[in-house]
Amino acid sequence: MTKAKELDFSKKNQIDKKRIMHSLNQSLVNSESLTSYYEPLIQTILPKWSNKKCRARIKNVLRLSDNVIQLSLKPSRKWKGFKAGQYLELTVEQQGAFVTRCFSISSSVKHWKKTGFIELTIREQDEGRVTPWLFDHLEKNEYVQLSQARGEFVLSNTTAPKLFIAGGTGITPIKSMLTSLTDHSGKMDLLYFARDAHLYTDELKQLEQRKDKINLNLHFISTDIQGELTQHMLASLFPDLEQREIFICGPGGMNDSAIEKLTNLNVNPSRIFQEQFLATPKRITSGSAAEANITFSKAGLKTQSKSKVDQTLLELAEEQKLSPEYGCRMGVCHQCKCTKTKGVVMNTLTGQVSDTSEEEIQLCVSVPLSDLEIEL
């Protein structure tokens, strides 16, 4: 057999083995894997244990300001670590329902390797479903669930000069990057905008002092007093802007505006890296779901809801010649359940507005309240 054929054969073997195991599990425990069958049993000994996610014990909940907390967690051994700048999904059980939100890891890789702890810095979103609840309910020694770390907002290995632009809690991944540096990696500047108090000023200033370890200059800007980012600010503070690698993390508006200004100053877009925070879709607040963009991800189709007409997602899908499964068309039988991966909908039967994260929704009674992505 040629090498290529050998590889094909062993790959096919692997797939067959997987399929056989899957069938066997379905037969024996009516579940895709044995561990998923045992999950509720294991949870009696290990609270919040999950087949797919990692458990983490809450070591401490520290209030950094009126609306920011720092959560110290010890992930279980199943958690594989992270690269500075990455984020993870935090899942908590809120009144019986699992809800998930993404947070960047704010502590350093060194810290995790040494102690096994990580820190998440969480800002309370007004009228948020999860973060206000986190503030009131997380307690020491309770457990939460974590996904593995993910994200591509990580430091490059180069010694090129770097500029970090942070807005509000956007400092989180950047702080992780700065504190995780193991060697002198060229000139670095941090431009940190905040409306209220800046976070981690002590820690960052201490880092700035360590001239032996890092060549870092801090610029704290209070947007209330000094205003927001301007092109002039960038050009005058950093004359060598075109040679820098630029890392931006903040609320959506800030990122877009920063990128626009940078490109105006001739910075090559390939040198700009960004992490958007709070990427919740723009909520459409008018009476009916005016002009929401709906993506049917599996079919690769896009459509828009019309402004004056209240169409359900089932009707919108059928209009696009998709044929989702349906039943009673009145919200009772749940046959039309589909996964909404992004966006917010309203259930016209109950009047309830959905969560912003991935959720199962009934197509026949859901109307879009924002741009959506549906797995259909």
């Binding site: 069938s23 024996l28 009516n30 579940s31 699992f98 009673c328 009145m330 199962e360």
Partner: protein
């Protein structure tokens, strides 16, 4: 309406008198309010409850299979093992399976305890059941010709179903169906779609092409049969035959129990049937009305309700199929109050008594009834 007979004196089926427009609206509003009030309470308590039941179901299943093998030392272990396994299968079918698959716990966002992922421990394909039960049975409840659960295409249980020769021995058909209930449940959609026969029904829309339906049917049935009649007997070494028989009996116990409870839900006396043309363009209030008239409850203690998967509260289940079933018991007094207010009969009774009327019904409609001439006022419903 007479309470003792389930037809009018001239053998016409019990059809429901129409309520006033106002009454339908009032009924709709009050039941919607009850639903919202209950949904607002759904939360941690329900999540903890269903996980507790699932744990009991799984522990008793594991224990049952192990203890059965210990029958090697003493036959009493074998009996205990069979009973534990039967308990597990019953809980899986009723309180866990039926309710999770109705979507009652989908709000939990649990990766496995939801109506899309859960696969239950019976012969039938889960998606097939969800389609004909959640959709067809709950939408067309008791509409003759549309609700195929009304008799399962095998039994004549009402006077508006034409009598056939095979109905003469239907009490025996019922006994066989009861013993082999999980096969009946597995086969129900394929029977309706006439997958294995030559003549297809013209106006019936199939969920999937016949080939796929057959494939899903055989696949699930094969896996279940492998588990109970090949795998577990084989790994029990010398206890091969006792384990095989034990598994068979556990399945049997589950089949008989579930079919009995399910039959008590719609086939007691004083059950109303409906004509398709009368249910076109139903309002929610009219839908609620039909659900109440087509269902019956069973009275009992808490453990009894759990073992029936709360199908003992069939009326509440048909009114609110996607509310966590253990809440039906608390909702029942309010439903009864509303029923009384609008003059709607609320059918309930002790288990023995209700089941007795089911048997009576099966026997009664084994024979053709003579249709007397009708006065004009009673012919329209």
């Amino acid at each position: 309406m007479s309470k003792t007979s389930n037809t009018l004196p001239n053998n016409e089926p019990l059809t429901a008198p129409k309520l006033s427009e106002e009454s339908y609206q009032g009924l709709e509003q009050e039941l919607n309010e009850l639903r919202e009030k209950t949904l607002a309470k759904v939360g941690q308590v329900d999540a903890d409850y269903i996980r507790k039941i699932i744990r009991i179901e799984r522990w008793s299943g594991i224990a049952g299979r192990i203890v059965m093998v210990l029958g090697f030392f003493n036959p009493l272990f074998w009996i205990a093992g069979v009973l534990l396994l039967a308990l597990s299968k019953i809980l899986n079918n009723m309180e866990v399976g039926h309710n999770v698959l109705h979507g009652q716990y989908d709000w939990m966002n649990d990766p496995y305890i939801n109506s899309k992922k859960f696969d239950w421990n019976i012969l039938g394909d889960t998606n097939s059941w969800k389609h004909y039960h959640n959709y067809e049975h709950h939408t067309y409840t008791n509409i003759i010709g549309k609700d195929r659960d009304f008799g399962y295409g095998l039994l004549r249980l009402s006077n508006d179903i034409p009598w056939r020769f095979k109905n003469l021995w239907q009490i025996f058909t019922y006994a066989a169906l009861s013993i082999l209930f999980e096969i009946g449940i597995a086969y129900h959609e394929l029977a309706g779609d006439r997958v294995f026969t030559k003549k297809k029904k013209k106006d019936r829309k199939s969920r999937l092409p016949a080939e796929q339906l057959k494939k899903d049917f055989y696949s699930k049935a094969g896996k279940q049969l492998f588990k109970d009649y090949v795998f577990f007997p084989l790994i029990s070494g010398p206890m091969f035959i006792p384990v095989l028989i034990g598994n068979f009996i556990a399945n049997l116990i589950r089949n008989v129990w579930t079919s009995t409870i399910i039959f008590c839900g719609h086939f007691t006396d004083d059950i109303h049937t409906f004509k398709e043309e009368d249910c076109q363009n139903e309002t929610k209030g009219q839908w609620y009305y039909r659900q109440m008239l087509g269902s019956s409850n069973l009275e009992g203690k808490k453990w009894f309700h759990i073992m029936t998967g709360h199908l003992s509260c069939q009326v509440e289940h048909h009114l609110f199929p996607d509310i966590p079933a253990h809440r039906y018991v608390d909702m029942a007094p309010e439903v009864q109050r509303i029923a009384k207010k609008y003059g709607i009969p609320y059918n309930t009774g002790k288990f023995g008594r209700q089941y007795f009327t089911v048997i009576k019904r099966i026997l009664k409609y084994s024979l053709p009834q003579k249709k007397a001439d009708l006065p004009a006022s009673l012919s329209a419903s």
